[in-house]
Symmetry: C2
Subunit: 242 residues, 2 copies
DNA sequence: GTTGTTGCATTGTCGGACAACTGGTTTATA
DNA sequence: TATAAACCAGTTGTCCGACAATGCAACAAC
């Protein structure tokens, strides 16, 4: 067998900057919230020019490891679930994810998630759901945008109450994609609002009662119901959501 | 109520570059695989200096919208599921995700995923599972690293066969975090290999038979079994995985 | 106490320059 | 002729030095 040499990395300097700073953040050497050295300081420390340092900083910036304060210099920031979700959904959408894939993911993920919710939700969490539900009731049935927001908001509250950032990030990115989808296929059926309202009520009831089977059952129906809009619109589910 | 003004954004030029190019990619004006204009061309088009253009390009680079070819200039690339997963898991880990969150997500997501697999997997997919299983059988029971890889590889194959990039991205990022976790709490129990092997066999059998209940049942047990290592190691599940 | 002023630190942008690398073309050599 | 060496053009990576714009803090003025 031929000796397998590493491609002996000669990464550009700005990547090295990125890696070096990332390592320091990761190891905790630069704690969360702490400011990064200034650009000139970094220049001196790395022994490179400012332009190069800045390119490395852009990488960190886009990686959400670091953020420009209201003031000026960068400070370390841990990526929160929402950022992760935004980036994920954006990437997936851009990657050509189809309606089918998104809906399928929804069907797969939410029923077990509400099962967890039924076991875990506090009175507070439930109250939020109820509030959201009441607000939803007051919207104009023709205001499709508001309806979409209300429907997505419900999912958001479910995801948010799970006390689990990993699940939160994943469900949230799903929610964003669903919002895209729903806004595209405008919910036209006049009954839409009523049916959503009913489903939400039952799900909330089931969670409140801690009845995970009932909750899972109803959210599955709810999702299926939402999806029906697509079938009605006669859309090809294999179309990309973007 | 006090009038609420927009923060009147005056984004720096390099952000504008990022946005402009992103928009062009998104709209399909620059199709996938097509090369971006060279840096100098971009300078001319935007009417700014090269250093600034390059900062914008770094943002695009980190956003995985664009990639440096083996040759030289950037070409457009859609983010694939793996990149998304890598970024997601990294961010979540950095965000302080705990063992509990990861395991919980695993418990929530995989049983329904294998249900899907039981309905959807082709002979080919199953063959891969079988191959992986056979290979796993041959590893040394003391080679904990190999055992972890084998266990994770099994999950990877499940995720990969679903024909769903959205689910794939999410499951894959979970897999990466699990790999981290398992490598940390080294599987010591001598029986580990045997139990994993057995569970995998049953899951594969169930998928092959299209028995989704059986498959879901066994993967749940399997996951629970893997988790037991933590209990044995007496680890605090609320510790971050990093 | 609020409002202006001033100066400092830091970032954003500029212009030009050069080395390094890649790919292709031409030329020299076996 | 075929192969290797040398050359050239295009592009990226890095550097330097400079200046404008902005935010911050301290201080002065009303």
């Amino acid at each position: 067998m031929a000796p397998k040499f590493e491609p002996l990395k000669k990464e550009p300097a700005y990547v090295k900057v990125y890696n070096a700073v990332e390592a320091n953040i990761l190891s905790g050497a630069i704690p969360e919230g702490a400011p990064l050295p200034t650009e000139v300081e970094l220049c001196e420390q790395f022994g490179i020019t400012r332009a190069t340092v800045r390119e490395g900083l852009r990488l960190l910036e886009q990686a959400d490891l670091v953020q420009r304060g209201a003031g000026k210099r960068f400070y370390v920031k841990r990526p929160d679930a929402e950022d992760v979700a935004t980036a994920t959904s954006k990437s997936l959408a851009l990657g050509g994810a189809t309606f089918r894939e998104v809906w399928e993911a929804l069907v797969v993920m939410y029923p077990p998630a509400v099962r967890l919710a039924a076991n875990k939700f506090t009175a507070e969490d439930i109250e939020k759901l109820v509030d959201n539900h009441r607000a939803f009731d007051t919207i104009d049935a023709d205001d499709t945008h508001a309806i979409v927001e209300g429907a997505v908001g419900f999912f958001q509250l479910i995801a948010g109450g799970l006390e689990n950032r990993v699940l939160l990030a994943m469900l949230q990115s799903l929610n964003m994609m669903i919002r895209e989808s729903l806004n595209r296929v405008i919910i036209k059926t006049p009954k839409a609002k009523a049916r959503i309202l009913d489903a939400q009520a039952r799900i909330i009831g089931a969670i409140e009662a801690g009845d995970e089977n009932e909750a899972a059952e109803w959210i599955a129906r709810h999702i299926d119901d939402l999806k029906r809009g697509y079938d009605v619109a006669n859309m090809d589910l294999e179309n990309p959501i973007l």
